[in-house]
């Protein structure tokens, strides 16, 4: 009997060995979820929740937020599974768990799919099926529409793909209210319009990386000058959109000031990026715009969070 079980165990080890053993640690699996993106997803979703007019039980809100975070992480994981070949040739992404050989593609696919299905089902059971459907659509949009289709075929990849990153506040508000309200659509529009200037500023600096990977980012396809023009055009649309919550009544006095100052800051930097086209100063200002764009979006959402979550809301009109 013991000989039989020994030989069985040996066969199992053997089959594991031929299949290739997992080298991944728990931290590698966590890295597959793109923790920084997940933080942004949680943050914007939380703001979508606190600005909504209705409330839910705190535990339901917490679990909904957790599932939105897990769904966001799952889409990041599936994106890494699909993009492992291009991640391997870009300096920024070469150390990710799959190209680094720590996690096998099949493991990442199974992990991402399990988390995707699980997060959608739990969100549907805990809150409502509209929110769950929107989360499923977000994952589908990021993985299939953006990663599998647009990213490698069109220089407008991040414009359309940006919709996936902009959806978390809509999902979160749907989880609370049961419908899609104008407030969350405005938050969606702000992130959507913010994405192109943010990523193209990075693409201007890292264009060599994207070129090597064969990704048709705008600077590689249309050239840096056309990219600079588009950055400026999107920023001109973004700055007034950033103030829209004030006009709609859910952005208070503090938000009005921050969005005005921040909007002018974005415009000034985008104008600088448009004007400075040569050498080190051009790279430096693109990098500054990239950094400032993160601060701008963070401040807009953080101000809404403080105003609504901590009772600091002071209306601008009336």
């Amino acid at each position: 009997m013991s000989t039989m079980s020994n030989s069985l165990a040996e066969t199992q080890v053997e089959s594991l060995a031929t299949a290739g053993l997992s080298q991944g640690d728990v931290s590698d699996f966590f890295a597959l979820l793109k923790p920084r993106v997940m933080f942004l997803v949680v943050f914007t979703a939380l703001v979508g929740m606190v600005v909504s007019p209705s409330t839910v039980h705190p535990i339901v809100a917490f679990v909904s937020l957790l599932m939105i975070a897990v769904g966001g992480g799952a889409s990041g994981c599936l994106n890494m599974w699909w993009d492992a070949d291009i991640d391997a040739v870009m300096t920024r992404t070469a150390k990710r768990p799959i190209p680094a050989g720590k996690i096998q593609p099949g493991e990442a696919l199974a992990f991402g799919m399990t988390l995707s299905v699980g997060s959608v089902i739990i969100l549907g059971l805990v809150s409502n099926w509209l929110a769950a459907g929107l989360l499923a659509f977000t994952i589908f949009f990021y993985v299939v529409v953006y990663s599998m289709w647009l990213k490698r075929t069109t220089p407008q990849n991040i414009v359309i793909g940006g919709a996936a990153g902009a959806l978390p506040p809509v999902v979160a508000q749907a989880a609370v209210t049961g419908h899609v309200a104008l407030d969350s659509i405005v938050l969606f529009a702000i992130i959507f319009m913010w994405t192109p200037p943010h990523f193209w500023a990075l693409a201007l600096v890292k264009s060599g990386d994207y070129q090597r990977a064969g990704i048709p980012m705008l600077p590689n396809v249309a050239g840096p000058d056309a990219t600079r023009f588009q950055i400026l055009a999107y920023t001109i649309l973004l700055a007034p959109l950033g103030i829209a919550p004030v006009a709609l009544g859910f952005g208070g006095l503090a938000y009005a000031i921050i969005s005005l100052v921040g909007g002018f800051g974005m415009l000034a930097l985008a104008l600088q990026v448009y004007r400075l086209r040569q050498g080190e100063p051009a790279m430096r200002v693109a990098q500054q715009l990239f950094g400032f764009s993160i601060l701008y979006l963070f401040l807009l959402f953080a101000t809404l969070l403080v105003e609504h979550g901590f009772g600091f809301f002071r209306p601008v009109f009336g």
Binding site: T18, L21, I59, V60
Partner: protein, 53 residues
């Protein structure tokens, strides 16, 4: 992925990683049980105990 010869057993490092992965999975499953319990109580409240027999 490491290429290895058939019948080769796990190295201590691989065993350690497998153990931490298993532990993380167990903790996740435990957290899910707790989560479903808490959500059930939060959604149904005391009514969960007042069911017609």
């Amino acid at each position: 992925m490491a290429d290895r010869k058939p019948s080769q057993s796990l190295t201590p490092e691989e065993q350690k990683r497998r153990r931490t992965r298993s532990l993380a999975l167990a903790l996740t499953l435990g957290a899910l049980v707790l989560l479903f319990y808490v959500v059930t109580i939060a959604k149904l409240g005391p009514g969960v105990l007042q069911r017609p027999m």
